[in-house]
Amino acid sequence: MSESNVRLVPARQLISSPVDAVFGLRPGDRALVAAGDSVVVGAPIAERLRDARLDELDVPIADGTRAGSRWAGTPRRGDERRDGGELVFDWHGRWRVATGDIADPLESPFAGIVREVRPGTGITIRAAGRGIRGVVALGSATRGRLQAGSDGELRSGGLDVGSAGTILVVGSRVGAETLTRARAMGVRGVVVAGLSSKERRDFLASEARQRAALHRLPTFAVLVLDGATRRPLAGAVQAVLGALSGHEVAIVTDPPMLVFDLPQLVIPDPPIDLVRIRSGSLAGREGRFIRAIGPRRFTGGVHLEAGLVHLPDGTTAAVPIGDLERFV
């Protein structure tokens, strides 16, 4: 096996470090931290307004009265004292102030250092740990104990209340019904290889209804590691998730990532020639890359660059290089 040859296979990073996660803010939301602050797990970092509105107020001019700054107090006209809000813009001497009646606390799901706070935009925190990147994360940042679930598709009947407070690894695929049931039972998150578009849409609709409710359930997130079709988790990822089983981890949505803080956990580099077939008739299988064999004709009449892969059952297959991935 030529090392140069295997580097033709698209590489995917197994472990990301450092992890800079962004927690979005909107005008009116109040950041409770400043750049350089250390945050611990569960520390409140912001208050998010549920139904923000823009009030038009006569704000007394003072030093520091500028767009983006906080204001609290009594307007020049009117006697009603306000809870305050965020100055948005000034037009003809009257400020438009973003404010709201109910605010929800936003807590940091991991320990780290605040890198940047931009009111109305977001808070960036560098996590103390490392992360496994996914393709998308739905829901809101969450934290829980990682628990291995089923290898194939997890069905709603397979959930039990003992999983409350955990982040479940459910294997190849999961449905919206299972996700909503998991959330209702107190599960904090789900890690899955594939989530189909229909399940994704149904879950997002359920999430939207949840957000509109007055009483809220704890945070819940779905981290999709691979894509939209059914395929098993990659072996290298499964190995890391297996090592993290029973430990506290977090899911963040921007970037979509599973974050863990276990400095003592040694994650060996995957073998350089280990490749995974991500699509096609051999999808999900892993093997050893032997060599690139140049263009080959495949079904559909297309000529694609191919590589020879030695599979664990002793067979060898010519696979389009575009169907392969390797972990670095």
Binding site: P119, A228, T299, G300, G301, I321
Partner: protein, 534 residues
């Protein structure tokens, strides 16, 4: 390149595809020696090393003449372009009426557009949009002079945008048309990190023009692959003395570049449109995007499964490129071409191109006749023209050569290697259905071939690459073929798809029923693949 190398690498680093080409000086001119395209996640040096080693293995004498040895290709000089991902632009106006031309212009100028107007968007939502960190620029426009429906709201709109710009000093602000009067609201613009620029007003009905040019300049650096296509197209137009049209469909955007040489002292034309909405697979395909792909699909999948496949195509564009993955890609490419065409409506008014060049990652895994058919299906204009494929993806790197003379000389040397001829396509319009429309006699070097022309189908005549002929058309009734008439004699050149007489409707009409549509699409695909009529 400052020295006089005997070989160099032309690299097109796309978001989904890395294309490397080895160009060497052979017999006193530059020639394409070899090329290789790989998924973007592949290591670039590994791609170059494999390409160089293949050249050494295939022709050791040529490699030695070019001073290329096993493993040495990575040391060659590089001419490299990269296609940058489009950024997000908030496009804001006082009224929906004035917003429409701004959106039409910005949408074809390399930006992902998020529109908002005072009439339709609350100030809080507008501020939220401007503070979104994924938004890197804002175009605030008004008519010049502002219309009656705009004037009242412009001052407050300027105050809102200026306040957001204060909070985001990195935000690029473009004040279009009548909004320029409100530049004072932005304070001392010289000290800002992001620029505050004045631009012309958007013109209703003509989305190109000076504002589009300004937005493209702001969207991408000068050596961006897509911007370089315009210069490349111009060089080919001058070399061949033909109207040239480049069509690119890629991972993040679709591009059209048109170039026409200077004729009789008239300034040469070059026009560029970069449309992020015409990307091969949209990041979050909505129902309209899925249905548009479904329209061209022979796969018969329901909307959910099709959406899943499009998401997978977005996540791993090179994966699953065999079997029905091929038809999915070509359906997605046709849908992208359709969106590209929708975003550039004024191009339909122009004279048809003499040469249409397809380029971009969408065609990387397709056969030549499939590419030709996809272009015929969507970019339908009555007339005759040649189709070609930039198979090695070197048009953009060559177009990035800064000196126009050097660029033209290099492309002139390489033009036969650069363009894989797909063939000549003749598309008459105005045929009456139901009976023979006439006949065509192709007079070639090896004799003449006569063919009856049946409306609604494709007539294919084998004409290999490198050959030329005269096609003499005799129609029963007058048709539109450039001009209106019954008799035409057209010089045609060969290609991988030969000569195609496309007698289908202009624009193409497909059956509403999915099964009938699928059968028809499959019959056309089978026809171009096998070279028999359909």
């Amino acid at each position: 390149m400052t020295s006089e190398p005997r070989a160099f690498l032309a690299l097109d680093i796309g978001a989904a595809t890395t294309a490397a080409a080895l160009i060497g000086r052979v017999g006193g001119r530059w020639r394409l020696i070899g090329s290789l395209s790989m998924p973007a996640g592949a290591d670039l040096d590994a791609v170059i090393a494999v390409l160089g080693d293949r050249v050494v293995t295939a022709d050791p004498d040529l490699a030695a003449a070019l001073d290329i040895r096993q493993g040495s290709a990575t040391d060659l000089p590089r001419l490299e372009v990269a296609s940058q991902p489009p950024r997000r632009l908030a496009v804001i106006a006082a009224s929906e009426r004035s917003l429409a031309p701004l959106v039409a212009t910005a949408s074809r100028s390399g930006w992902r557009v998020v529109p908002a107007s005072v009439e339709s968007t609350e100030p809080l939502a507008m501020t939220t949009l401007l503070l979104d960190r994924s938004v890197t620029g804002v175009l605030v426009g008004a008519g010049d002079p502002p219309g009656a429906d705009e004037r009242r709201g412009l001052g407050e709109l300027a105050a809102l945008v200026a306040a957001a710009a204060t909070r985001r000093p990195d935000l690029t602000v473009i004040l279009g048309g009548g909004m320029a009067e409100h530049q004072g609201a932005f304070g001392d613009v010289a000290t800002r990190m992001g620029e505050v620029m004045l631009g012309p007003a958007a013109e209703r009905g003509t989305p190109g023009g000076p504002l589009a040019d300004l937005l493209i300049e702001l969207a991408f650096p000068p050596d961006d692959a897509r911007r370089s296509l315009a210069a490349g197209a111009m060089a080919i137009a001058e070399i061949l003395d033909r109207r040239v049209h480049v069509v690119e469909v890629g991972f993040n955007a679709g591009t059209r570049a048109a170039a026409a040489p200077s004729v009789g002292g008239i300034t040469p034309l070059v026009d560029l449109a970069i449309v992020p909405a015409a990307a091969l697979a949209p990041a979050d395909p909505d129902d309209a995007a899925v249905d548009r792909v479904g329209q061209w699909s022979t796969w018969g999948a329901d909307r959910h499964r099709l959406r899943d496949r499009l998401r997978e195509l977005r996540i791993a564009p090179w994966a699953d490129a065999t079997g029905d993955g091929v038809t999915l890609r070509m359906a997605a490419a046709r849908a992208a071409l359709g969106r590209l065409s929708d975003a550039t409506p004024e191009w339909a008014e122009r004279a048809p191109a003499d040469l249409v060049i397809a380029t971009g990652g969408a065609w990387a895994v397709a056969t030549a006749p499939s590419v030709s058919l996809a272009l015929m299906d969507v970019l339908r204009r009555p007339g005759a023209g040649q189709f070609a494929l930039d198979h090695a993806r070197i048009l953009a790197p060559l177009g990035s050569i800064p000196d126009a003379d050097e660029r033209r000389t290099m492309i002139a040397d390489l033009i036969d290697d650069l363009l894989a001829p797909l063939g000549t396509v003749v598309t008459p319009a105005g045929l009456r259905s139901g009976r023979s429309a006439g006949s065509v006699v192709v007079h070639g070097a090896n004799g003449s071939t006569r063919l009856d022309l049946m409306p609604g189908g494709l007539a294919l005549i084998d004409l290999p690459p490198g050959t030329s002929a005269v096609a003499e058309f005799r129609f029963r009734d007058a048709v539109r073929l450039g001009t209106r008439g019954r008799h035409f004699a057209i010089d045609v050149t060969g290609g991988l798809g030969g000569l195609v007489v496309d007698m289908r409707d202009v624009p193409l009409r497909l059956p509403d029923r999915a099964d009938l549509r699928g059968e028809l699409l499959e019959s056309w695909q089978a026809a171009v693949a096998s070279g028999r009529n359909a």
